[in-house]
Symmetry: D2
Subunit: 396 residues, 4 copies
């Protein structure tokens, strides 16, 4: 197995040296004060990354999917009505989870490539006079299509409708990479994982609950044990978990938050935008389109790139792995075979991004697409040269 | 934080150098064939460690508790009747989980320190003519009391009663350290985690399902998504997971199985017995009793040691951490304050065990117990000298 | 400190994951048989990499410079005459070392950028009827100029002259990356270090002695202790060193040799040629010249690239580090300010090389050179696409 | 290979987790300012550990032996007269090195087990009216015999004699573990390595030169290149080395100094004394003697323990390795077979020390010596209990 080249999948990301070492920890007693010295700062760090003053942060040995299950099972009861748009594979899977847990989902079918339709949400919420809808789901960044949505607009829709539903946001591929404002947007549950913006291995579900969401846990009657936030809260009060925590990953999360906050969240977001702009410049130079239908929904963590009609975009991914040892992402669901994805989140420099762009070019040329070698690279170089960070040190 | 001394908690264990390195992996594409080269051998290795030819092995980014939830939610339906003995904190918690998931548990209260009452199980199962009991829970090794139970006897009870209930075994602190026979004992679901006999960090729930248990998943209607074994099986068929796997830990698990199988399972078990016998010799020399009420239930992975009436056993644990930087386990639940625990599972040599014994002696003497310094050490030395392994190399 | 980008200095190289882990070793007893299990295979591996059946391999905790000192002090005596060409900084420094140790060097001044003048060597050796010349120095690859020399031709010069002088070869930046034939070329002492073709950190001087060189150690009277090969040989016979060895690095060297030999030396060399050809294609596309004056002396491990008259080539190196976080090599000695160097040895993929080429382009454009962005990248891409390795796995 | 047990050799020591990670560094450009950020603080840290304000600190990719060679070759000339006592293997080897480099050594033969005879030094120096003696060698801690010497007394001898000879001190197994006062004792060259008190792998020779020693380098004419301090000083002025430095080890050295200085040197020394006292209590309980002939020369870093007449002490070392996987040190030179050594320097806790003592007991009992199991352990426990550190945290 060669580990020479960076990965360009939309998570897990390349892991910074410092975080690999933070995770690679000898065993400590996870019921000792030592553990508390890792746990509490990690939770506090996540809270700051969420831009929240009071969110209750819970961290499970699990993944983002487990985070979704935490959101649903702690706050809702069988038969509860949910409002959700489906505009990609991850929003689709969250809807599927609701249905498995006997929730009643009103689905707003949305074109894959578009953002969440906040106006439709407003109409539906306004019409729901009896407030049957208990929660609104919003996928901040659709990893499958490279589309970001306007969560502030969803909040405005709720407010315009005067609707008390909880707002659940999937921030798995946005939090810690793109601007996310838990308090300002009135988010009730935010869900993410360790392996995206936090630049760690997969293995942690990270969730933030608002006071309102915590209140809902008192009535939410869906069965749960592993993902029960009350057990977790009780454990935290004793520097402990209700079961054995993933101590090394938590230590990594603590260090990751320190790195992000030291760099400054706005700098982190600007860095992601910068890298993404270079990739988008390359896509333009290739004469290709993004799956995302307009610039306002372009994701800064992943670009899904449409290939010409009749071409199987998945071949690029297979070819890149086989011939060049580079990992891109395939298209999923409705856009399978139609797009390939370049992940550009987490720990990535312009120099690394250029190697991914150069590889994509070689693959497309190898597979017969009419791509001029060096064209995308030149466009990205031009962008990166002209938009250098104040200091590369910030991008550590 | 000092990491100088070994830990003597009953899991997570000390992690062997080789496994720490195996887990500390750069990011790879978890949807690529590379990942299959880790996943499939790891599952096959676990199957061998379970002593099973055909068990379906599922590995979740979770913990043993998540493994329990996997067992229950995939095979059972609300209102199903369960038979379970309560003889320690972990059997207690499994019963509690059943109740949260709306299962109807018939509890056999058993003295903490005794093993599972297979005879009572047989009576109850025989009386259950209509086969309302859908599953029997059995905690192979009660980590709280240092008590191992006779799973073969539970199987015999089921067979004697001619009862078709599923047999679920909590092997969290026994599997890969003590003899476990999935096929021979007719186990239907075995549950463990990465952080005990497999000598890794916490973060994986590891379960084995029999064909009969897999059949039960077709009717089990408890809600589940994260722990759904069908999603998992579908993923495995494509070298993948239904969500992002904990690749490094899986790589570690694969290497752990190789280490265990290279050493030979019977050698692994003999090594655990040997280390445990030394600890028990020390306990005898101190004039103290184990919580486990008879030699046939002595656990080879953890010893819970009763301290004299009126003495708070938890003080030993606190004092050891504060003064000597050594971690022992406290008593839990009914035996809180009455016992302290020495974990002796996983990667531990006699030399390390002696340092734990010596530390316990110093702590007890410091706290005023009438313990002769060196007495327990001498008893353990005597045992270890006379029962050397054929080769220390086996104990790597 | 960011470690995101590959380095493009001509050593130390990027270190493969596997070798970093091999070097990061806990302490073992360096006087035990365990140590022998590392030492002897490492020496045997180096011998194979040298393409020698019988060379005595010595490994010192030192660097290539220490290897040179080992060669000289063990075989020569004060006043001995040495023949050496000076065609770059490293040959210059070896000559300087001879003079410090009171050797009498006949220097053949050679243009920086040219290879060793085997014909001049032959003339001088032929003229040396009384065989006053005791050793001939030959720098196989001048790291400063990116020039490789024809060692077989030097051997032919010695043979044509019927001259018994020892042949000492500096293979620091060639061995394990470019074809090197200790036995076939009649090399008497070969010198290298751990941080180039062996892809490790600096810290080991690695030398091979022929039987003839070993014979010379009996009369060589230059003072030496640390670098004494007899002490070393005596130690090796007892699985030991005359002082404390660098065990982790030796373990890494052993693993490095396994990697190289598993890949196959000819494949290793072909891989280096391939990466180098891509870099040279880029240089051509930029309209620049190499310092190396003709294709037969192009080095496959480092390219020294001439920049236009009046431009300070060192600015590229400084700018790349400051703005892009990428390390190239500066020009040294006579070519300081006139060239910058791209190291392309050791563990490097085409994808990584492209990122270095792209960075160099950005720097040159930033600094006002007339370089078309993407031009060098496109030329290299074209080469790499058409000259894929049979398997990327070989390039691990 | 098992790495479970601590090592009890007198260096290399057990390496703290934090230092292993500091050394395991990716490649950086060793000619960049980044490198200076490691190099200069490391040198400054060493200076403080030496308790010197102005010593010039040089760090070579080498070992303590290379440090000795640095001391001699930079300051002396062929034929110079040296005064040295021989009271163990390491002082013997330093004398041997002097002789190889054509220095004229006046040897004061001293019983192995005794400290340096400062009074004899004074007599000889006083008698040397013409000041032919250019340097006095003093081994601060004889690792072979576990004997520390009084360097202040040697300084007094020089001063009493009014003699201008340089004072060279071998502090390989004392510096950073036992009190060492470069300035106060008027040391001219102090020599140590990375693998003892600094708790790192072997691979660095660390030397401090006084202003007087630096002055002597102007006339010292012994041939040298690799160990030349002028080349080194010139390199340092440019954030560089005259060759490729061992960057990771230097980074480790920098972190090691921080750890030592954070703990406080006096605390570090007290910790070593404490661990050593426990070992000595055990030796007393066993009824055995130290090689060191009186308490004032007991070393706090290593104890050489005499075994009864007719018993081969080396068997203990072999047996411990084979049966228990524990490394002790053998006797060397005159005391080969007569002593075995327990190293107790660097990163070691009382808990670890007890495991070494317990192992030694088992070995001696196994080999037929009349040793009561647990007796040494009890004596050490008693000492450690009563002499706890203020905080274990200091012993990280």
């Amino acid at each position: 197995m060669s580990f020479q080249n960076p990965v360009f999948i939309p998570g897990p990301t390349n892991i910074p040296e410092h975080l690999r070492k933070a995770c690679d920890m000898p065993t400590i007693d996870h019921r000792s004060p030592l553990f508390g010295q890792i746990l509490h700062p990690a939770r506090e760090g996540v809270r700051k990354v969420l831009k929240s003053d009071n969110a209750e942060v819970f961290i499970f040995p699990s993944t983002g999917t487990g985070g979704w299950e935490t959101a649903l099972t702690n706050t809702l009861s069988a038969g509860d009505k949910i409002l959700a748009a489906r505009n990609g594979m991850f929003s689709h899977r969250w809807i599927d989870m609701c249905q498995r847990h006997e929730l009643n989902v009103e689905i707003v079918e949305t074109q894959w490539g578009d953002g969440l339709p906040a106006d439709r949400y407003e109409e539906i919420l306004t019409a729901d006079k009896s407030h049957e809808i208990k929660a609104v789901l919003a996928t901040h960044n659709e990893t499958a299509t490279g589309v970001k949505s306007d969560i502030a607009a969803v909040r405005r829709a709720l407010d315009a409708a005067g609707h008390p539903a909880l707002l659940f946001v999937d921030g798995v591929s946005s939090i810690a990479s793109m601007d996310f404002r838990f308090d300002e947007w009135g988010v009730d549950v935010a869900v993410t994982g360790s392996q995206k913006g936090f630049m760690l291995s997969a293995g942690l579900a990270i969730v933030g609950f608002s006071a309102k969401a915590m209140e809902a846990t008192k009535t939410g009657s869906l069965p749960r044990t592993f993902f029960d936030v009350h057990d977790m809260a009780k454990g935290y009060a004793n520097n402990a978990y209700p079961y054995t925590p993933a101590v090394g990953l938590l230590n990594g999360l603590n260090e990751s938050c320190k790195m992000l906050l030291d760099e400054g969240l706005e700098n982190v977001f600007a860095r992601h935008t910068r890298i993404a702009e270079g990739v988008r410049a390359a896509v333009g130079a290739w004469g290709l389109d993004l799956c995302a239908t307009s610039p306002d929904v372009y994701s800064d963590t992943v670009s899904a790139i449409r290939t010409p009609e009749g071409f199987n975009a998945t071949d690029i991914v297979t070819h890149a792995a086989d011939k060049y040892g580079v990992a891109f992402g395939v298209g999923l669901g409705e856009v399978a075979g139609k797009v390939f994805r370049i992940g550009h989140l987490g720990s990535l420099t312009d120099v690394m991004a250029l190697s991914g762009i150069a590889t994509a070019e070689m693959c497309m040329a190898d597979l017969g697409l009419d791509i001029q070698l060096g064209s995308g690279v030149a466009a990205a170089q031009d962008y990166y040269r002209g938009h250098a960070l104040a200091s590369q040190k910030d991008a550590a």
